[in-house]
Symmetry: C2
Subunit: 411 residues, 2 copies
Amino acid sequence: MTAPGWRRDLFALPDLVYLDGNSLGALPRTVADRVAAVVEDEWGRGLIGSWNHVPGSSSGWIDLVDRCARLLAPLLGVDAADVHVGESTSQSLFATTVAGARMRPDRRVLVVDRSTFPTDAYVVSSVARLLDLEVRWCEGPGDDGGVAALEAVLDDDVALVSLTHVDFRTGAMFDLPAVAAAIHQHGALAQWDLCHSTGAMPVDLAAAGADLAVGCTYKYLNAGPGSPAYAWVAPHLQADLDPPVAGWMGHASPFAMRLDHEPRTGVGRLRVGTPPVLALSALEAALGVFSGVTTAELRAASLQLTGRFLAHVDTLAARFPDEQVALVTPRAHHRRGSQVSFRHPHAYGLVQALIARGVVGDFRDPDIARFGFAPLYTTLDDVDRAAAALAEVLESRAYADPAYAERNAVT
Amino acid sequence: MTAPGWRRDLFALPDLVYLDGNSLGALPRTVADRVAAVVEDEWGRGLIGSWNHVPGSSSGWIDLVDRCARLLAPLLGVDAADVHVGESTSQSLFATTVAGARMRPDRRVLVVDRSTFPTDAYVVSSVARLLDLEVRWCEGPGDDGGVAALEAVLDDDVALVSLTHVDFRTGAMFDLPAVAAAIHQHGALAQWDLCHSTGAMPVDLAAAGADLAVGCTYKYLNAGPGSPAYAWVAPHLQADLDPPVAGWMGHASPFAMRLDHEPRTGVGRLRVGTPPVLALSALEAALGVFSGVTTAELRAASLQLTGRFLAHVDTLAARFPDEQVALVTPRAHHRRGSQVSFRHPHAYGLVQALIARGVVGDFRDPDIARFGFAPLYTTLDDVDRAAAALAEVLESRAYADPAYAERNAVT
């Protein structure tokens, strides 16, 4: 079995126990050189010609979207031809949600889970308002994978169900194939937000019978702060794919500059504006660290890491009963993503005190301390060091330091 | 008077006559170092903490949008508080067009000019479809600044008029204040696409009475391929600003992670997803080259450049009457932007033959050769060298080289 963190040498990590790769992945070493080459050679020297051919290559910036899609596809378990890359997660989700609703024009309801990352709820609500539909809420994955939660809200008026695969607070995970099957039983479309999944586990969208999916690339995919998102549309739906914003890059012949819009075939019609070349180049370089890695290896390493940390948390909760440490991540392997979270009455101060001790996790309102485990660069030693620091913080009650009374803007 | 190209030393330009800064601006020298620092120090070492504070600074990535807005505002003639930065031009235009239409709920028509860059037409049509409105076309700016073209289509059913300030093919320019006044006479909103304006001339949105505006930053603002766009909303409209996509970054308290969306005040509600940090950092560095430069200086230098090239084109058209060189850019200074274009039956080959001679312009379907003049780095000597190369290409008919029969994907 592959040891967790087996590709750590490919990352430029400072001397930290970094357990926040579920918020911002670490820097793959190749990215810095690649971005410098894009700026200095491709833009500075190649100038406008680099859209067709970057200096010394037969390929150009115009091919970046496709090249990134080819690298992402194996991590999603899909064909590259069905992946679009280049907008923000929120914008991608807006596009696929509108397109999905348009595929079920006689249905009036969009379902979204209460455990979703908030932007998904806002986007689904935005779409409902634009298309005069209704939002219906369902509960999160809980301990059973979420089928019961879905069954409670599904009926034949549901056009699309948009779910966040892994709960960003608790790490609980929807049973993707089972939930997709339940959704299809009612003739609705299953849309997945994979922000907290891809790069840490298999998602196997095609085999699982998903319909639509989006995800960011700055968490377990390590492409840098605010890097572009991807969107996937099942092949059998692409003939009817009708997104809300037609842009020039989604035109079948963008450089003909015609006033009437003739959409590209397939997911290409999700293209909107000029692609973000610096960010896509960083993404392409970042995805190189997954070369030769299977999603099964990622999952096996992830479960070793989360399982070991979870056991530490259980031990510490028993050792410090007054601290009210309450695990919120499912103990069952197949019900969690790649993070471990617990509640604590002073969670914000606890996370800050850990950061002061070189262990970086993060805080989620109101009382959750959250720790993400990136299988390529997090080691079992990191887990043990984090647990030792956590023990020290609980024992010393360092979380109550008045220095932590005022919160950062970004938590 | 400032000599055109007076800040050329701030740019890393290869040995070329580069007249395509209206498509992709040249690289400001500071950008490479800044981007390297963002990747290696801020992301690589600062990791997630850089959202609040980058290493060695009291400011963090979360402030980048505001910092870029402060640098852009003087070039737009507006207050920084009224500028949003971070989406693509097409996505920004979609947001402001929907928001504008929602400010005139009893009106059923969106007007767009036929001379617009195509994505604007596609976006306005997309909005019309979503909101069940009608698209009405008007003619471009022509030789009179466009007031007559607008008067021909305006009535009290028009909610919003979306115009491209400078025609990307011909360089003809709408008379922004006069056209905005005509639009307001009919109670409609005036929206401007400034992609081919900002950075080469004053636009003075606030003084001109504009209502909404968007623009890219990769042309005369030199922020790199696919860099983020900006959007501006007149202060008096912001209380009613209601964009189509609510995202978590547009929430008044994004890190409270609530499921109900409470929009930020003002243009902040145009924020959608996580901001693109690499690209915004490049933009911030790129805008530094405008420090201490007035828009009047930019315009004066631009007009010297375009006036001189235009005179060369007139001379060559007379010298080679069989070549059918037909100027399409207005000769009157106040009617043109910062480019000069002419028709030629072999325009594609002509542009390629010029590139082979070290003079980079571009081609626009079907028969336009286009030359942009970036006032900060283009010199009068560049103009003369370009004209000499053009004379040689026309005399030798090098444009007919069979090597130019097959076109690049990006033209």
